[in-house]
């Protein structure tokens, strides 16, 4: 286990993230320009979709149905477990509980990519259809949590805002690039793919990921000051909830027939929390919720935890169960 942790710790991805975090701790004003950060995110998602689509076209689809069902189940269960824990154990109000649950019911694509890279490095690559599962896990969790929040609180919703928020999630960057990329990757001829593959794969993809994580470190570091504000409960929640969801995801992945690598990645998806798609949707639909709570938890606690320690843990669990 310490071996695995160390390998992960000394990967350029983790180190770049740590450097970004550190730069905020020494109060540096270093920042990747916002548009570059956005562009790297777009590139990573589109490349992920493309490669997922190319894989889908290659492999027989038979093995995918069970994992899909399992993923959808995770998408329905996770917002509810999160909401339940936040209400009962955390004693948070309805809007805050539902808002945070929307984040933990969705998924972080970058955490997913890091897991994909990690298991490949471990010699246990995941099945090629995993990006397809990622698509399924993004929106249901947000929608279920928002519905719970809207139903349970007493105030009336501003007409249209829920519908607008859902439309925005479904047509957001992640969906367009991931789903679109899957289709494009599925449709292109192998010869045409080969011509562009080096741009979307290998060292360039990984280098872009390193730069992206450098900036994510800065962005997460900006939230470190808010850790005090969110309190001990959310700190614990941001670490323990992922472990529970991660173990659940690994177990269900194993039951659905995934390999050790595939189960690790599904576990990581399940353990991750959204900080891109969920925040605006929650802000529009549950404005009474304090966004500082949900974003700090998902971005400054859960994300670093998963990147540095979580992924190796889920991998360890997967090898215990399925290795």
């Amino acid at each position: 286990m310490t071996d695995v942790l160390l390998v992960n710790l000394l990967s350029p991805i983790t180190l770049a993230f740590a450097l970004g975090l550190l730069s905020r701790l020494v109060r540096s004003e270093f920042h990747l320009p916002r548009d570059i950060y956005l562009a790297l995110g777009i590139y990573l998602l589109f490349a992920l979709g493309l490669k997922g689509g190319v894989e889908l076209a290659k492999s027989p689809l038979s093995g995918i149905w069970l994992p899909m069902v399992v993923t959808l189940a995770l998408g329905c269960v996770r917002p509810l477990t999160s909401y339940f824990v936040l209400r009962r154990l955390g004693r948070l109000g309805v809007p805050d509980a539902a808002g945070i649950a929307a984040h933990y019911g969705s998924v972080s694509a970058v955490t997913f990519i890091a897991a994909l890279d990690f298991v490949r490095g471990m010699g246990a690559p995941a099945e090629g259809f995993l990006p397809t599962l990622l698509v399924l896990l993004e929106s249901p969790g947000i929608q279920i949590a928002l519905a719970v929040g809207v139903l349970h609180r007493n105030t009336t919703v501003r007409e249209g805002s829920t519908r607008d928020a859902l439309h925005e999630v479904l047509t957001g960057r992640t969906m367009i690039l991931l789903v679109g990329g899957l289709f494009v990757g599925y449709a292109v001829t192998p010869a045409a793919w080969q011509e562009v593959q080096p741009f979307f794969d290998g060292a360039i993809f990984k280098g872009a990921l390193v730069l992206f994580l450098l900036e994510m470190g800065v962005v997460a570091g900006e939230r470190l000051g808010d850790l005090k504000r969110v309190g001990a409960f959310l700190l614990a929640f941001g670490i323990l909830m992922p472990i529970v969801h991660g173990a659940l995801g690994v177990a269900m992945g194993h039951l659905a027939g995934l390999s050790v690598g595939g189960a690790t990645v599904l576990g990581t998806m399940s353990a991750s929390a959204s900080y891109i798609a969920a925040p605006p949707a929650v802000r529009m639909t549950l404005p009474e919720a304090n966004p500082t709570f949900s974003i700090t938890a998902s971005l400054a606690i859960t994300f670093p935890f998963n990147i540095v320690i979580g992924i190796p843990i889920y991998y360890q669990i997967a090898t215990w169960i399925g290795g």
């Binding site: 900006e222 802000r283 529009m284 404005p287 009474e288 304090n290 500082t292 974003i295 971005l299």
Partner: protein, 102 residues
Amino acid sequence: MDRVPLEVVTIVAETVLEDPVTKGLLQRGATGYTVTPTHGRGSRGIRSGDVPGESVRIEVVVDAPTSERILGWIQESYFPNYAVIVWVTRAEVLRGEKYLST
């Protein structure tokens, strides 16, 4: 130079509000609007989105009744839960008749 006295309403709000606010402005009689991305700091320090402190500055040239309507709407819809600041300046507008609410 026909300078028509009108009001410029300036709204600084969190970025998620750009869409609903600009739509609402047009619905309430504004004939257009101008949006500038900004960043800043306020008393609440509410931080939504992944870039703390980003906001949009929306300017809208309107006549007095429309201004009243817009202010009432923003006060009711956005003041309770969002980071928003609104101020009104008097201005003389060229071709001012273009910006009268109909």
